[in-house]
């Protein structure tokens, strides 16, 4: 019974150590220059995997220790195990056998409550002073040696990386723009465009594009120029002064993708 408790405690301790180690590694992973998004997800993933790995290790480890064959081996391993656990509990967990409690009782009692003079568990001290050291290194890393990246530096890197990627995509012709866009009239594109219209534009332009907050898109007037190229431009950059927001960050400008179909729908409603 006693052994069981000790085993459980040891198991808990190892799991805890695993969590501590993995979180400490996550702490300093902030310096990686990869886009923050992917890095964060991977870190979380690593933490989870680390914990699971240690849990499994413990689950395997404890039964393994209990599988000796002969009686001799049993007693020998039991002794070894006791020794090992003794060392562990003594040095790290710091638990005194419960029988020793009487000698640890302090004299005073407060409304019947007494206190034991147990040592502070060594693992507690390891944890406490360990985190103090981590905290000091953390401050040094970001503010003295400046090896860690502060939020705005992380941000600049992130934006820079995204800009490079975007330039690549533009060069490869993956995006259409206001000079390359062309009108599509096939029913499939039109209905896809209609779906996008219904999902995004109805609040201002009305369900039948008759206009509410935004102007009517079904009459013969074009405020910002007709034709697919002008309509594309209006949607892409918006007309901020009049409340038409720029959609270039929201619609996919990839060839044959949403943004194009929307333009087709919008300009197809009236004669271009």
């Amino acid at each position: 019974m006693n052994l069981k408790i000790k085993n459980t405690l040891k198991f808990l301790f190892l799991t805890f150590a695993a969590v501590m180690i993995s979180s400490a590694s996550a702490l300093f992973a902030q310096t990686v220059t990869e886009p923050v998004q992917a890095e964060m997800n991977m870190n979380t993933y690593y933490i989870i995997m680390f914990v699971i790995f240690f849990l499994l290790l413990n689950l395997i480890f404890i039964p393994l220790m209990k599988s000796p064959k002969t009686a001799e081996e049993i007693s020998a391993s039991a002794i070894a195990q006791k020794k090992l656990i003794g060392v562990l509990t003594g040095k790290i967990i710091g638990l005194q056998p419960i029988e020793a409690e009487k000698s640890l009782l302090l004299d005073e009692d407060y409304d019947g409550i007494q206190e034991l003079d147990n040592n502070i568990p060594p693992w507690f001290n390891i944890l406490f002073y360990g985190t103090v050291i981590i905290a000091i290194i953390y401050m040094l890393n970001f503010h003295v040696f400046k090896t860690g990246k502060l939020p705005f530096q992380e941000y600049n890197d992130e934006v820079f990386a995204a800009q490079l990627q975007r330039d690549e995509l533009i060069k490869s012709g993956a995006f259409i723009n206001e000079t390359t866009v062309e009108l599509l009239n096939d029913p499939e594109s039109l209905s896809a465009g209609k779906q996008i219209f219904l999902a995004n534009c109805v609040p201002c332009h009305g369900e039948n594009a008759g206009g509410t907050v935004g102007p009517n898109l079904t009459d013969q007037f074009w405020i910002h120029g007709g034709g697919i190229k002008n309509v594309f431009k209006t949607i892409k950059y918006g007309v901020p002064v009049k409340g038409m927001i720029a959609w270039q960050n929201q619609f996919n400008p990839k060839k044959n993708a949403a943004g194009w179909k929307l333009c087709t729908f919008a300009s197809g409603n009236k004669s271009c």
Partner: protein
């Protein structure tokens, strides 16, 4: 030795116990209503007094200050008398404390739905109530220290250390965070603006969690857990180490609520560093609690009291490990502004505070009424349904928080936001909000069962106002074996030392932020609000918009793509109070200005679901009928000028003229779309404010190296 005869005041304990249960039921019921509002907007009951923005603060204030507050006083008044072997210092002060505190709660319950709020979380109450709180707190402090000074026990037990630190620190926190300039009865502006206000507020908010929800409860645990288990405290030395390290380190960690914001980087890093160091001191309490039960685990199986306490202490351990993890920048980047935080605080609130309170009540009420608990079976039922409730509450909120955050951050391979429409990420959470409300209902049902059980217990027992007892007088021997024992017999010095310990962290963080200019670089294009915008801002505050909308764009590409340029410290220099928010149930509004036409806001505030189908925002009908109170403009402008906002001298006289001019411009713009609305309606002021938001630096291109 001659024994002195005296009696314990049990009546005050019982009164606080009744208040605990009563306000607990009320606070949790309001919590259940706000939880329901998030998936069924009809539960806002189409009137201003029950809309989410107004009653969410009612829920948090009720459970923190009414439920937990009364429970703290119940536990302290019971244990302090017995640990000091003395009756409370003054029965009159006890009474004033009790009724004063209930008066504060009633004031809160009336003013918050009426829209009187400072907007600062857990410090929403307006200035007259703030003064009342300070006075009642002083009464409590005198009563407590008076009792400690006339004690018959030479040394103060560890529970009393925690009580002392809590009383001292809460006084400091409350006063510093509530320094505000009244501009009318029930309306004030904090003296701090923007970044400084945020720093002070989260120094307060974080340490209200520390010194209202944590340290007093640790004190209660140190008394009631060993009493209920009949076991000695595991380690006296651990008590000393974790007490002093906890109160010293906790106070520094406030800035972890402001990671990736416009707060100076060094302050953010200090917040993280001290949060990491906080793990062990926090866990000291859990270890001492759980190891005290060593050799008594058979009793845990039998006793519902101990079961509640074990889960409470375990929940405390989980929440205090999670807290530091959430303070790591890369975890915070995901969790902040999401329901993950809601899950985190409820593990603490429902698990630690709730369950410890229930454990204490099940132990205490039978003793006060000199009888046995009416039904152990019902108490066990409460335990299991409560535990289930916590699980059903926490899991969906963790799930929802992570899901939504990842959706916010998801880019397509072309570098475009995958979910550009914020609403898409909200609609995804609806089933989780429903599950959470079920969890809350289970928990609440357990509380009702407890109420029945306790009432039955009281009915079958015999209550005694004054419990007669006797104890020898304290011997005037001042020799001490250790330095700490020396300190334990000197309450005045003990209080002084703990005050010094808790002041260090706050001072180190605040003084540089207030005094060193480079911490908040000024931006010349940032101008004070116009009178109409200022009035609109106060409507924004009154309606509690900040409960669901942040005004803080963090430096992530996913946020600048969605909302615009990230927030700069210099943008908030005229914001008394700051309105950064702590949760994004709706999208960030920092750059909302000029994004949509006036008409859009007009329609959207009247019927959010007509403009954004599926939205969970309540409608704000009353803004369209209520007239703007322009009588307050002059005193508001004067107040702001006193606080350092550069309005020209005499501007307050012509402010209303300018206000009407701007309002007319908006109504004329609306009239173009056949909307006929008078310029003096509140909605016009709110639109003016929303259209101003973040526009001062709009158009400036982001810095790219």
């Amino acid at each position: 030795m001659e024994m002195e005869k005296f009696s314990y005041d049990n009546r005050i304990v019982r009164n606080f116990a009744i208040a605990t249960v009563l306000w607990g039921v009320v606070g949790m019921l309001v919590g259940l209503i706000v939880a329901t509002q998030l998936f069924a907007p009809v539960m806002n009951f189409a009137n201003q007094y029950t809309s989410f923005g107004r009653i969410r603060p009612l829920h948090t204030n009720a459970v923190i200050f009414a439920f937990v507050g009364n429970a703290i006083f119940m536990g302290i008044y019971y244990s302090l008398q017995r640990l000091c072997k003395a009756r409370m210092f003054s029965d009159l002060l006890s009474k004033i404390h009790f009724w004063g505190w209930q008066l504060i709660i009633v004031c809160a319950a009336v003013t918050l739905p009426l829209g009187f709020t400072t907007s600062k979380e857990y410090a929403e109450l307006e200035w007259p109530i703030d003064i009342l709180i300070a006075l009642v707190w002083v009464v409590f402090a005198i009563n407590m220290f008076g009792t400690i000074f006339k004690r018959r026990e030479k040394h103060m037990y560890v529970a009393i250390w925690f009580y002392i630190a809590s009383v001292v620190t809460i006084a400091v926190l409350h006063i510093v965070n509530s320094i505000e300039l009244p501009v009318s009865f029930l309306k004030s502006y904090p003296v701090y603006a923007g970044v400084q206000d945020a720093l002070v507020q989260w120094w307060y908010g974080h340490n209200a969690v520390a010194f209202f929800l944590t340290t007093p409860y640790l004190g209660l645990m140190y008394y009631f857990l060993p009493k209920a288990a009949n076991r000695p405290i595991y380690s006296y030395r651990l008590s000393i180490l974790h007490f002093w390290s906890l109160i010293f380190i906790y106070i520094w960690a406030g800035p972890h609520h402001l990671l990736y914001t416009a707060l100076p980087d060094w302050a953010q890093s200090l917040g993280t560093a001290f949060s990491i160091m906080l793990i062990a001191p926090s866990w000291g309490g859990m270890i001492n609690g759980l190891l005290t039960l060593r050799g008594a685990w058979d009793k845990v199986r039998e006793s519902p009291v101990l079961k509640f306490m074990v889960v409470a202490v375990t929940a405390y351990g989980m929440a205090t490990f999670e807290g530091p993890m959430l303070s790591l920048k890369n975890v915070n980047a995901i969790a902040h502004f999401t329901d993950w935080i809601v899950a985190h605080v409820h593990v603490g609130a429902l698990g630690w505070n709730g369950f410890l309170t229930f454990g204490i009540l099940y132990w205490l009420i039978p003793r006060l009424y000199r009888t046995d608990l009416y039904s152990n079976k019902l108490a066990n039922f409460h335990f299991w349904i409560g535990t289930l409730g916590i699980v059903f509450y926490a899991v969906p909120m963790y799930w929802g928080g992570i899901t939504q955050s990842l959706m916010w951050k998801q880019f397509t391979p072309e570098g475009i936001l995958q979910y550009p429409n914020f609403l898409e990420t909200v609609v995804k959470l609806i089933p989780l909000y429903i599950t959470r409300a079920i969890g809350g209902t289970l928990y609440f049902a357990g509380v009702l069962v407890m109420v029945y059980n306790l009432v039955k217990t009281a009915k079958q027992g015999q209550f005694e106002d004054n419990e007669a007892t006797e104890a020898p007088p304290m011997i005037g021997d001042h020799s001490a074996q250790t330095k700490h024992k020396w300190l334990e017999s000197r309450p005045g010095k003990f209080a002084l030392l703990s005050a010094v310990v808790i002041l260090i962290g706050g001072l180190v963080q605040m003084i540089p932020t207030f005094l060193i200019k480079s911490n908040i670089p000024t931006i010349s294009s940032v101008k004070p609000y116009t009178p109409l915008e200022l009035q609109g801002r106060d409507i924004y505050i009154r309606e509690g918009c900040n409960n669901c909308h942040s005004q803080m764009i963090r430096p992530f590409r996913s946020e600048t793509e969605r909302y615009g340029e990230y927030s700069k410290a210099g943008e908030f220099v005229y914001d008394h109070p700051f309105l950064w928010g702590s949760k994004r149930t709706g999208p960030d509004l920092q750059r909302e200005g000029k994004k949509y036409p006036n008409l859009w806001h007009f329609y959207h505030m009247a019927d959010p679901r007509a403009i954004s189908p599926g939205s969970i925002m309540p409608a704000y009908d009353w803004l369209f009928t209520q007239e703007l109170n322009t009588g307050s403009t002059e005193s508001k402008i004067n107040g702001m000028r006193t606080l350092g906002v550069p309005y020209a001298d005499g501007f307050e006289k012509s402010a209303n003229e300018e206000l009407m001019k701007q309002a007319n411009e908006i109504t004329q713009d609306l009239a173009k779309n056949d909307i006929r609305v008078e310029s003096n309606k509140e909605i016009i002021a709110l639109i003016a404010y929303l259209q101003r938001l973040g526009t001062d630096i709009k158009g400036e291109s982001p810095v790219i190296k």
